[in-house]
C-alpha cells in the first residue's frame, strides 16, 4: 500500500510499504477514506519530537471502512464506517475506567522510553514517534487499529467524511481545551493560536456558553475565520498590537477568565524574546519555544485558568511560575481523552449545531502529502487545514 513516511527533518515521502496485518485479537484493519495533517504533525516534521525513525508512517487523524477484524472484536464488523480517536486506549485499565483515555496504561509498548523522558508513560498514539508506541499512522491506504472495540465510533451515512473526520482529534481537542476552562455564562475566554485546534476551541467555548471569545494569531485570514466561522467576538493580531495591553483593554483591565494555549512548542513571535527562544532551542538548552504559554499565564486574570492543548515535548525555559503562584492561577493540560467526547460531539454535528468542515481549506491526494506538509507549514495559499484522500 501507499503511505506517507517520515524520512528525517523536513522530509516526508509517499512510499510503498507492506499492508498492515492483525497483530492482536482486538485489532481491526481500516481502508482509510480520509486523513488529515495535524499541526502536531509539523512538530514531527520539524524534528522536535524525539525518537522518530526513518520510515515511520505518519498520521493520527483518519477515518475509514473496516475491512478486517481480529477474533476478539465484537462491536465492529467488516463494512462499518468509523472515525478513530488518535490516542490508543485499552478500555480496561484504571485510567480508562476513569475516562482518562490518553493516559491508558496498556497501550504503549515503549512505556519505558516515555518513563525515562517524562517520569511516567501516557497512552500510545498513532503515527507519533516511538516514545508513544511506534504505531503506524493513518496517512496511508490502510491502517491497523488496536483495541478496535474501544476507540472507533461508527458514523451515520448521512454525514460526509469532511463533517466527521475531525472527531479523531482537533474537534475534541479544542473542545477539551474549552471544557478545562470551567466556562459559565458571562465568562471571557482568550485563545492563543487560530489554527485548526484554536478554531475548535473558540467554537467550543461558544457552544459551552462563553460570553466573549478573543482569538490571537498573526495571520489575518485565520483571524477572519475565527470571527466569521468559529464565533470569536474579538481578535488580536499580535504583529500589530501588544497582546497583554490589548487583552487588558478588552477585559476592563481584569484579563481573560481563562486562557487556552492552542499553539504549543513552536510559537512564533517577534523581538527579543523570540530570538532568545530560537537561540536556546538551537543550542538545545530548551526543546520548545513557549512564547504563547508565557503570554497566556501573564495575561490571565487573578485566580483564572490556563488550559494547555498545544503540544509540548520536553523542557521549557523562563516559565513564569511566580505569576502563576502569586496570582492563584490553575493550569490544566493534556492530550485529549478523545473517546469520551465522540458521542456528545457527534450529537452536536448531527443536530447541525456545528459543521467542523469549516476549517478545511485544501483537499489533496495522499500522494501529494509532501507538498501538503510544505504548504501547511509555510501557511501558503491561506492554508488552514489539509484533508488527504486516496
Amino acid at each position: 500500500m501507499k503511505a506517507n513516511c517520515w524520512e528525517g527533518k523536513k522530509k516526508v515521502r509517499v512510499e510503498t510499504v507492506p499492508d498492515p496485518r492483525i497483530l492482536n485479537d482486538g485489532d481491526a484493519i481500516l481502508k482509510v477514506t480520509s486523513t488529515a495533517i495535524c499541526g502536531s504533525d509539523l512538530h514531527l516534521y520539524n524534528g522536535l519530537i524525539p525518537s522518530m525513525q526513518k520510515g515511520d508512517v505518519l498520521g493520527h487523524e483518519f477515518m475509514g471502512e473496516v475491512v478486517e477484524i481480529g477474533r476478539a472484536v465484537k462491536k465492529l464488523k467488516v463494512g462499518d464506517r468509523v472515525v478513530v480517536p488518535f490516542p490508543i486506549a485499552c478500555g480496561q485499565c484504571t485510567m480508562c475506567h476513569e475516562k482518562l483515555f490518553s493516559l491508558c496504561e496498556n497501550s504503549n509498548p515503549n512505556a519505558w522510553m516515555a518513563e525515562a523522558l517524562w517520569g511516567h508513560s501516557p497512552s500510545g498514539l498513532f503515527g507519533y514517534s516511538h516514545i508513544l508506541g511506534g504505531f503506524a499512522g493513518g496517512q496511508a491506504e490502510f491502517v491497523r487499529v488496536p483495541f478496535a472495540d474501544v476507540g472507533p465510533i461508527k458514523v451515520p451515512a448521512s454525514l460526509r467524511d469532511d463533517q466527521v473526520l475531525f472527531l479523531s482529534d482537533i474537534f475534541p481537542t479544542g473542545y477539551m481545551g474549552a471544557e478545562m476552562c470551567d466556562i459559565k455564562p458571562g465568562k471571557v475566554i482568550a485563545v492563543w493560536g487560530a489554527g485548526p485546534v484554536g478554531q475548535f476551541a473558540i467554537a467550543s467555548a461558544r457552544l459551552l456558553g462563553a460570553e466573549r471569545v478573543i482569538a490571537i494569531d498573526r495571520f489575518d485570514y485565520r483571524l477572519k475565520m475565527a470571527r466569521e466561522k468559529a464565533g470569536a467576538t474579538q481578535t488580536i493580531n499580535y504583529e500589530e498590537a501588544d497582546v497583554h495591553e490589548a487583552l487588558r483593554d478588552l477585559t476592563g483591565g481584569r484579563g481573560p477568565d481563562a486562557c487556552i494555549d492552542a499553539v504549543g512548542a513552536e510559537a512564533h513571535s517577534h523581538g527579543i524574546s523570540y530570538a532568545y527562544d530560537r537561540t536556546k532551542q538551537a543550542l538545545m538548552l530548551e526543546t520548545e519555544r513557549p512564547i504563547a504559554l508565557r503570554e497566556a499565564i501573564r495575561a490571565c486574570r487573578n485566580g483564572g485558568i490556563v488550559s494547555v492543548v498545544g503540544v509540548y515535548g520536553g523542557l521549557i525555559d523562563k516559565f513564569p511560575m511566580g505569576s502563576l503562584m502569586n496570582r492563584g492561577l490553575t493550569m490544566r493540560g493534556g492530550q485529549c481523552h478523545v473517546h469520551r467526547y465522540l458521542e456528545p460531539l457527534l450529537g452536536h454535528i448531527e443536530r447541525g449545531e456545528i459543521d467542523p468542515s469549516f476549517v478545511i481549506t485544501h483537499r489533496m491526494r495522499l500522494d501529494q502529502a509532501p507538498e501538503a506538509f510544505e504548504l501547511f507549514m509555510r501557511k501558503q495559499d491561506n492554508c488552514e487545514k489539509v484533508v488527504l484522500s486516496a
Binding site: A3, C5, V17, P18, D19, P20, R21, L23, N24, D25, G26, Q53, K54, G55, D56, V57, A72, C90, G91, Q92, C93, T94, H97, E105, N106, S107, N108, P109, N110, A111, W112, G124, G127, H130, G133, G134, F135, A136, G137, R144, P146, F147
Partner: protein
C-alpha cells in the same frame, strides 16, 4: 504528605521476606548451599559513579587539565611561563596523558582512594618539573611560573587532603576490604538486587494463581522460553538472552503464601544463580493489586562469570520492569499490546512489516 510517602517507601524496602533475608528461608526446601550459608539481606544499590564528590570533582579537573595539556601544549606553556619548545611541549603532552588517565580512573565507580594518591604523586612530579624550570632555565618567565607553581602546590594540598579523607570512609568497595575477604564473600558482594513493581487492576487471588502456574511466566517474560513444573516445589527454567544462547536452571519454591507471596531460588550449579520473590499487595482505592518483584542475582563464579555478571547486572531491572508491564497487559486486556515497531526485536520503523520480516515476531 510527601514525607509520609517517602516513609512508606522506606518501610516497604525494609520488608524482606525470609526467602531473601534470614536463615529460615530454607525451611521449605532442600538446602542449596553445601554449608547452609544464610542469604544476606539485599544490599543497597550502588550508584554507578564515584561516591566521593571531591574525587569526582578532581576527576573532572584532571580530565580538563589533561585535555588542555594534550591539545594545546604551546598555549599552556606560555600561560605558565615555560618556554614553548618542542621538548617542553612533549613533556606537557605526557603529563596530559597521565592527567586524563587519572581523571577517568577517578570517575569510575570503584576505589578512587588509590587513584587519589596517584594524583598526589603526579602533583609532586609537576612541582619538580616546574621548580626545575624556574630554577635552572633562565628563559622561564619567573612570575608566571611562580604563579603556576603556587597553583600546583594548592592542588597538591587538596589532593592530599581528599586522599586522606577518602581513607577514613567506610567503603565496602575498598581494596583493603576486598583483599581481606574470602572469595565467596566477593561473590556475595557482587550480588545485585533488582526490583520492579506494577499495579494491576485485578484481585490478588487471580494474579497469584496466574503466577503460581509457572508455565504462564513464559507468556510475558521476554527471555523465558519455557518453564517445566516438575512437582509442587520444583521447576525447570529455560531462557535465552540473545536468542541463540541458552541459560537453564532448576528452581525450588522457598516460600508460598497463597494470594500474598511466592519466593524461589535456583538450586546449585544454576546457569543463573538467583533468588526471587513476588509479593501481591492490595492497592489503595480499589485499584487492584500491587505486584512487587524482587530478585537477587548472583553472578557465576570465576573471573569470566564475574565479567558476564557485570554486564547482566545492568539489564535486569529494565527487563523485569517491562515484563511486569506485559503481565499487566495480559491480565487486564487479555493480550500483550503490539505495535508495528514493537513486533521487531531490533529498532524498526513504525510501519507494517512484510512477510519476509516476520521471522522475528
Amino acid at each position: 504528605m510527601e514525607a509520609r510517602n517517602d516513609q512508606t517507601r522506606n518501610d516497604q524496602s525494609k520488608l524482606r521476606s525470609p526467602a531473601l533475608g534470614g536463615a529460615n528461608g530454607a525451611a521449605l526446601t532442600v538446602s542449596t548451599r553445601p554449608n547452609g550459608e544464610p542469604r544476606q539481606p539485599a544490599q543497597p544499590r550502588r550508584t554507578a559513579r564515584a561516591s566521593n564528590p571531591w574525587a569526582r570533582g578532581l576527576g573532572w579537573f584532571s580530565i580538563g587539565l589533561g585535555a588542555a595539556e594534550l591539545l594545546a601544549p604551546a598555549t599552556l606553556a606560555r600561560l605558565i611561563g615555560v618556554r614553548d619548545t618542542s621538548r617542553n611541549r612533549n613533556v606537557l603532552r605526557a603529563l596530559g596523558t597521565r592527567e586524563v588517565a587519572a581523571g577517568v580512573g577517578l570517575l569510575l565507580p570503584r576505589r578512587p582512594g588509590r587513584l587519589l594518591w596517584s594524583r598526589v604523586a603526579g602533583d609532586v612530579v609537576d612541582l619538580a618539573l616546574l621548580g626545575g624550570a624556574l630554577a635552572f632555565d633562565r628563559r622561564t618567565k619567573s612570575n608566571r611560573a611562580a604563579l603556576a607553581l603556587a597553583a600546583v602546590a594548592g592542588v597538591t594540598a587538596l589532593d592530599t587532603w581528599a586522599s586522606l579523607r577518602r581513607q577514613d570512609e567506610p567503603d565496602d568497595d575498598s581494596a583493603a576490604l576486598t583483599r581481606a575477604t574470602a572469595r565467596r564473600d566477593k561473590r556475595k558482594n557482587a550480588r545485585v538486587p533488582v526490583q520492579a513493581v506494577v499495579t494491576i487492576q485485578r484481585p490478588a487471588t487471580e494474579i497469584y494463581a496466574f503466577w503460581r502456574d509457572f508455565t504462564n511466566l513464559a507468556r510475558f517474560m521476554t527471555h523465558v522460553r519455557s518453564v517445566d513444573v516438575k512437582d509442587r516445589l520444583r521447576s525447570h527454567w529455560s531462557t535465552s538472552v540473545t536468542g541463540r544462547d541458552t541459560l537453564e536452571w532448576d528452581a525450588v519454591i522457598t516460600d508460598d503464601r497463597p494470594d500474598h507471596l511466592i519466593a524461589w531460588r535456583s538450586v546449585a550449579d544454576a546457569d543463573f544463580d538467583h533468588a526471587g520473590e513476588v509479593r501481591f499487595v492490595p492497592a489503595p482505592g480499589g485499584r487492584g493489586t500491587e505486584v512487587h518483584l524482587k530478585m537477587n542475582v548472583l553472578p557465576p563464579a570465576g573471573a569470566l562469570g564475574k565479567a558476564v555478571g557485570k554486564l547482566l547486572h545492568r539489564v535486569p531491572e529494565e527487563v523485569i520492569g517491562a515484563d511486569l508491564k506485559r503481565l499487566k497487559q495480559l491480565l487486564e486486556t487479555g493480550e500483550i499490546t503490539r505495535s508495528d515497531a514493537s513486533i521487531h526485536k531490533a529498532p524498526h520503523p513504525a510501519r507494517p512489516s512484510g512477510d519476509d520480516e516476520q521471522s522475528d515476531v
